[in-house]
Amino acid sequence: MELLRLTGIHFAYPQRPPIFQGLDFSLEQGERIGILGPNGAGKSTLFLLVMGLLKPQKGEVWALGAARKREKEFQEVRTSLGFCFQDPDDQLFSPTVLEDVAFGPLNQGRDKYQVRLLVADTLQKLGLGGFEDRVTYHLSGGEKRLVSLATVLAMDPQVLLLDEPTAGLDPDTEARLEQVLANSGKSWAIISHDHGFLRRNCTRLLRLQAGRLLPAS
């Protein structure tokens, strides 16, 4: 079953040369895609287009069973597409870890009591047990990254879209992240420059270069 499909995407930022001229991308249930590519190739832009945060000038975005064009159509699927920003400071905005991780699940309309248990459970899995009352802007870089992953995992999305999830993690923390991902049983697309990490955790590698996605090894 197909979860995501982008066809014939054209996109350019204002007053800049086009990034994509007819890009195609798709992600099947159970697939784990690793995306490599030079800086500025448009890897993050690709995710922003999938989420409907940027709109393509031409082409179609199809996600979780329907074509998505208008803001409302994207709103329906956003919490099912777990997108984690490259910079944790963009992701974390609540004063405490508890509130930040609870933000998504509460928006999904879950019960407050359940959400508390869910947050504790998610933090525990990432090795952040007892972090609930920590202040987000006083966390270390690596802790911030793990908490921002927790904010996404807590929504129990169908797909994970992770933008450089391992940047700034020490080897032990990275190993724990790999384990959490493997146990989640989810499909994902991960952007990274860490070739080894992608080979270990993905079923298919793609390289984004000059506006095209090509198979990589």
Binding site: L48, M51, L53, Q75, R78, T79, L81, F83, F85, D87, D89, D90, Q91, F93, S94, P95, T96, L98, E99, A102, F103, G104, L106, N107, Q108, K112, V115, R116, Y137, T151, V152, M155
Partner: protein, 251 residues
């Protein structure tokens, strides 16, 4: 940067429910703002000192904050006793000395200090996010709350971005002086800060959308009203009633 200097402590006031303290501070501000009689103003200052004493706030930090407030008020002492007149007046400046202005200045000084003391003892003794939540529980206007909340949250981010830029300058051997190059550099830094914070606000909003934000900010309940909160409000109400009665008899 740490702005919540008073929030962590072990005094009886620190342990109270922020809703009780906010209500108490609000009632006190109203009473004092409307007060006219001198004994009432002095009594208000007394209440301020008393609450600060109960909260056992660190004195040096307290003095620093009071100094900041009173430096501002000092301007009023300089400006208020003068009135613009038609005649040449004092030193031919067209100003006349008016001692009534000094009374005004004294009244403002007493009121401001009393209010600042009470706010520090009651509101600043709760972490800021708890104050925010207390207001949310009271159904304060959501837009104002968001504004307040993001302002506070991003103060830290801005502060750190500023430090990064500053470190970047220093790492390349920049030392500020009073010359055009320094002014130009700082102009660039402030411009960059503005642009970066705009970008960041944009990305934070996007991140919130990705997590299903649609205008409602859900609050997790974590306040528990205790008997001590009721007692505190009862004692505080009696105190305010006493002040009110005092004001009435004097009027």
């Amino acid at each position: 940067m740490h702005l919540e200097t008073f929030a962590h402590g072990h005094s009886p006031l620190h342990r109270l429910d922020p809703r009780a303290k906010l209500a108490a501070a609000l009632a006190f501000s109203l009473l004092l703002a409307l007060a006219r009689a001198w004994p009432l103003l002095w009594a208000g200052l007394g209440v301020g000192l008393l609450t600060v004493g109960v909260a056992r706030l660190p004195l040096v930090e307290l003095a620093k904050r009071l100094l900041a407030v009173n430096l501002f008020i000092a301007m009023l002492w300089l400006l208020l006793p003068w009135q613009v007149v038609d005649s040449p007046g004092w030193l031919g400046l067209g100003l006349a000395y008016h001692p009534h202005g000094l009374d005004m200045a004294l009244a403002i000084t007493l009121k401001s200090n009393a209010l600042v003391l009470v706010l520090m003892a009651l509101v600043a003794t709760s972490p800021i996010n708890q104050v925010f939540h207390a207001l949310a529980h009271w159904r304060a206007p959501v837009k104002l709350l968001h504004l307040f909340f993001f302002f506070y949250r991003y103060l830290h981010v801005l502060h750190r971005e500023y430090h990064r830029l500053d470190w970047g300058l220093k790492a390349r051997g920049f030392s500020p002086g009073s010359n055009w190059r320094t002014y130009r550099t700082y102009a660039h830094v402030s411009g960059m800060l503005l642009v970066r914070s705009y970008d960041r606000a944009e990305r934070v909003y996007q991140a919130m959308l990705c997590r299903g934000f649609s205008g409602t900010y859900w609050v997790l309940d974590h306040f528990a009203w205790q008997r001590r909160d009721t007692w505190f409000l009862a004692v505080w109400s009696l105190l305010l009633l006493g002040l009110f009665a005092l004001g009435r008899t004097l009027a």
